[in-house]
């Protein structure tokens, strides 16, 4: 029986809906992240468009049952395109009181609230720091509460396998999963395959989890508690072959693709840090792809290793998150000075300092632009979604190699851990990245390591090449020869050349596109991981007939050459950012446009609703708008 790409119909009433947002919440030890991933994959396999938002504590495993230990995973799956994991929840599955109390506020009034009633004993309440049972609170009436003895039912399901209570209880999550699959007509196949593979060496655990999963499904079909299930049709994604991909995975694969496209070995120097470490975990698996991962003693050694490898001719990459990028500042300056190509990835997290390590934020933009001494410009580009990380990584290396410069890629915790369907590319259809290393004589009689090509890039002559011996270093270099020079005019010239070279990237990047009217009341200008929310909010406002357009910037330095022109076409510019207004400062300074900010620094992504409200407040209700709803 293959249920893939089909929906599993319940015998009960089935309501067809266009999309569902559900959050699974429980203790860090309850495997919520695993469940979320399964639900995501299964939904994607059904042809839904999906977007996810995992949210877990900074502690590995805070004490069981406490609020600090709550781990959540939100998925939106829909028959239309989705760009965000959803603002409010249609359903919340809460495995314990702490999960309930910290999550219920995001549930739509009237939304489905499923709890494991076996987890609401006094001691559970105490662990969650609750005086009274929330299930008895008046506010619980706002939701469609369904209490299910998940723990007991799971134990029963696996009773005859002779597992310990602890072991039995570890299967609770799959019971819940089965229930959710029933509820939304999802096939269990993919998850069954997953269980088989994951617990191949523990047949008993395998059997128990499978049973729990099936028991959950059966319970849904049988119980009177749940009157109906829901069905979400396939989305109309462009034709092609798809898979789910997470942001960090896509970055890793993009880097590998870039190496392949440029016929280079990939040297990857990094030091673990949340939320960037998964790139390291992913890349270190692919040693047979010519990937060499170097876990350095710290972030400085990681980038310096990359600099060494770049000098040697490798495709060099280093990654970190905010605090680690701060440490790399000095070496980034060296890379700028010696003009070697390299990709530096900053997966941003909540700051400042150690901040909120597992939360998302966009507050490193100015750091990557300016966080080093002297005039040290480099190109900066930002990924906008999990799948987009793949393309961003390739583009970064393309620019780096063409301009002989380090390039910064900005990602963030939200897209790093988020997942979405990804149209699988054919590596042979991606434009190769042509890199030529000069050889003796190829550059004329005397070799000038700081000669310039039409883009102002210098030649990448690598050690081992006869006759091209030269020295690079952090002292100012003489134009052309690269020798040390303290000459005043030369310094000015070199500062200008380095700046112009980076500015020249604007020649290589596409013109900025606009979604919406060419002129109008409002332009929403966004960058990075907020694309989905901004796009969705602007689309909705447009459907209301409002005069608003959306511009999503991938290139933060240099800006696309037509950006100034675009900005001039709208009465107002709104820049939503998960920081206190960093792009806004750059745009105002560059274009003298009185851009407003919509800023949120709360460790979480924008909701579509809040953005829409802001857009409504800045635009007049259009024709469609006045029909469909009153202006905000």
């Amino acid at each position: 029986m293959s249920q893939d790409a089909t929906q599993v119909k319940s015998a009960k009433q089935v309501e067809v809906v266009s999309g569902i947002t559900v959050r699974l919440a429980g203790d860090s030890g309850d495997g919520m992240q695993l469940l979320g991933t399964q639900l995501t994959n299964t939904s994607a396999l059904l042809g839904n468009d999906v977007a996810t938002f995992p949210d877990f504590p900074a502690e590995i495993r805070a004490p069981r049952g406490t609020r600090a230990g709550v781990s959540g995973f939100q998925v939106q799956f829909a028959s239309h395109e989705v760009h965000t994991p959803g603002d409010t929840l249609d359903a919340l599955i809460a495995m314990n009181p702490a999960a309930l109390i910290t999550n219920y506020e995001d549930l739509t009034p009237g939304g489905l609230l499923i709890v494991d009633e076996d987890s609401f004993a006094d001691k559970d309440l105490r662990l969650a720091n609750l005086q009274t049972d929330p299930l008895e609170e008046p506010w619980i009436e706002n939701y469609r509460l369904v209490k299910i003895p998940i723990t007991k039912l799971t134990r029963t399901a696996v009773a005859d396998l002779g597992l310990s209570v602890k072991e039995s209880d570890r299967c609770r999550n799959f019971f819940a999963m089965g229930l959710v699959y029933w509820l939304y007509g999802r096939s269990m196949d993919a998850t069954q395959r997953f269980i088989k593979a994951k617990f191949a060496k523990l047949p008993m655990v395998q059997e128990a989890n499978e049973r729990a999963l099936q028991a959950g499904w059966a319970f849904g079909e049988t119980t009177e508690l749940l009157g109906q299930s829901y069905q979400v049709e396939s989305a109309t994604l462009p034709p092609g072959k798809y898979r789910n991909i997470m942001g960090n995975q896509a970055l890793a694969w993009g880097l590998m693709a870039a190496a392949k496209l440029s016929s280079k070995e990939l040297f990857y120097g990094s030091y673990p840090i949340t939320p960037a470490s998964d790139i390291l975990h992913e890349l270190c698996k692919y040693k047979n792809f010519g990937v060499c991962t170097f876990q350095a003693e710290d972030e400085i050694a990681a980038i310096c290793g990359a600099i060494g490898a770049a000098f040697g001719g490798a495709m060099a990459v280093t990654t970190s998150s905010g605090p680690g990028i701060a440490l790399k500042g000095e070496a980034m300056g060296l890379a700028v000075m010696i003009e070697l190509p390299m990709v530096i990835i900053d997966v941003q997290r909540g700051g400042p300092s150690t901040g909120l390590p597992t939360k998302t934020e966009q507050a490193d933009l100015l750091q990557v632009l300016f966080g080093r001494n002297g005039e040290a410009p480099l190109p900066v580009i930002a990924a906008s979604s999990p799948g987009d990380c793949f393309d961003t990584a390739i583009e970064a290396w393309r620019l780096a190699a063409a301009l002989m410069t380090p390039v910064v890629v900005l990602s963030d915790g939200y897209i790093a851990n988020g997942a979405e369907p990804w149209a699988i590319p054919d590596i042979n259809n991606i434009e190769p990245i042509v890199i030529e290393h000069p050889s003796e004589g190829s550059t004329g009689d005397t070799f000038l390591p700081y000669a310039r090509d039409e883009n102002l890039a210098r030649p990448w002559a690598i050690p081992g090449t006869k006759g091209l011996m030269h020295r690079v270093g952090g002292l100012e270099k003489q134009d052309g020869t690269g020798n040390v020079s303290y000459d005043a005019q030369n310094h000015q010239r070199m500062v200008n050349i380095r700046a112009q070279k980076v500015a020249n990237a604007a020649r290589m990047i596409p013109q900025q596109e606009v979604m919406g009217p060419e002129k109008g009341e409002l332009l929403v200008l966004s960058w990075g991981g907020t694309k989905g929310a901004c796009l969705t909010a602007v689309s909705r406002a447009q459907k209301q007939g409002r005069s608003v357009a959306h511009c999503h910037l991938r290139h933060l330095n240099p800006f696309p050459s037509n950006l100034g022109e675009i900005l001039g076409n709208y009465d107002q510019v709104l820049i939503p950012e998960l920081n206190s207004g960093q792009l806004r400062m750059l745009i105002r300074a560059r274009f003298l446009v009185d851009a407003q900010g919509y800023n949120k620094v709360q460790g979480k992504p924008f909701g579509v609703g809040e953005l829409l409200e802001k857009i409504e407040s800045l635009t007049s209700a259009g024709k469609a708008g006045s029909l469909s709803r009153a202006a905000g």
Binding site: P239, R243, W253, F311, I424, G464, R471, G474
Partner: protein, 343 residues
């Protein structure tokens, strides 16, 4: 075209840049001996890379007609590691100072050694910060008056050899800037070692710390204050080679050979010996002991980049050369048919 390598001379290793150390600086001698030794390696110019940090000593790469990088303060070991891992075909030298290697760069120094990356590191130890004009360094003796310690340094100095040993260094040696032959041959030995080789060179900074090593340099006294290590030979020193080192428990002691003590009672140098023996050598410091110069230790151990690239090779052997399309298409996938939009 002949495939034979041209025979290089010391001068072929000189770049076209003016050397800019203070007149009389010990760095000149190290540069000269390096250039003299290099032809013996039989490598073409382009196969050699000098990587340095920051400091007077770290200007070194500019003066070599090889590839080179004058990187940032303290980080040359990390740069060299990346370079060697990416390009194990190159011969890589790291040039560093006592501040560069043991102050800001102490951690990278240790990690280079514990990985046993195949580079040759030359530590120009002048017991002072030269380039920044005379502050004390981690090798400055206690009590030293410098620009930043007008009442004397109070930190207990680091012994570079002890630090190297703690990181399980496979090759450790010491030489003196002015002992030109010894220096050249020590550099050669180091360069020939596979794995990280560390050579501490006593280097005189005649501007900010003149005479710091006089006891080990001055003709009149150096034979009494240093001891030239020779593999398999007893530890004998002195102008008249009449003194030796014997062990008393764990403690070395100086004995007078003229007073009837036989050479057989002495410690015999063994470059492959237990690290404990090397610790004892490292602990022999002036004025209580003659300071050993030469190769302290030369043993073999797995080399980092061999292992790293070995794993890459093994993975490729086992799984074949990676196929990105296969990877992209692995796991759960689904197809949206051409007509799906119509559904």
């Amino acid at each position: 075209m002949s495939t034979e390598l041209p025979v290089l001379k010391a001068n072929d290793f000189a770049s076209d840049q003016d050397v800019r150390w203070c007149p009389g600086c010990g760095d000149y001698s190290i540069l000269a001996q390096m250039k003299k030794m290099l032809p013996d390696l039989g490598l073409p110019l382009e196969q050699i890379v000098f990587v340095s940090g920051i400091g007077c000593s770290s200007r070194f790469p500019y003066y070599m007609n090889t590839y080179g990088m004058h990187s940032i303060h303290g980080r040359a070991p990390a740069v060299a590691t990346g370079l060697r891992v990416a390009r194990p075909d190159l011969k890589v030298f790291v040039i560093t100072g006592d501040g560069d290697a043991l102050s800001i760069g102490g951690n990278h120094f240790i990690h280079l050694l514990r990985r046993n990356v195949d580079v040759t590191l030359v530590l120009f130890n002048n017991r002072i910060y030269g380039l920044t004009k005379g502050q004390y360094s981690p090798t400055s003796p206690e009590g030293q008056i410098t620009k930043s310690t007008p009442m004397g340094a109070v930190d207990h100095p680091l012994n570079p050899i002890r630090v190297a040993l703690a990181a399980e260094a496979t090759f450790i040696a010491r030489s003196v800037d002015s002992q030109v032959q010894h220096l050249a041959s020590t550099l050669y030995r180091a360069a020939m070692h596979r794995g990280t080789s560390v050579v501490e060179v006593y280097q005189n900074c005649n501007v900010f710390n003149d005479g710091a090593w006089d006891y080990a340099k001055e003709k009149a006294v150096r034979a009494d204050n240093t001891l030239e290590l020779e593999n398999g030979k007893p530890l004998i020193f002195g102008k008249d080679r009449d003194k030796g080192i014997r062990l008393n428990g764990f403690k070395p002691e100086v004995v007078d050979l003229s007073s009837g003590i036989s050479q057989d009672d002495l410690l015999f140098h063994d470059e492959k010996a237990d690290p404990i023996y090397v610790q004892i050598l490292a602990g022999m410091r002036y004025p209580d002991f003659p300071e050993p110069i030469g190769v302290f230790r030369d043993v073999e151990n797995d080399v980092f980049e061999d292992q790293v690239r070995g794993q890459m090779a093994t993975a490729t052997e086992k799984k074949g050369v990676g196929d990105l399309n296969a990877l992209f298409n692995s796991g759960d996938t689904w197809v949206v048919p051409e007509t799906s939009a119509a559904r």
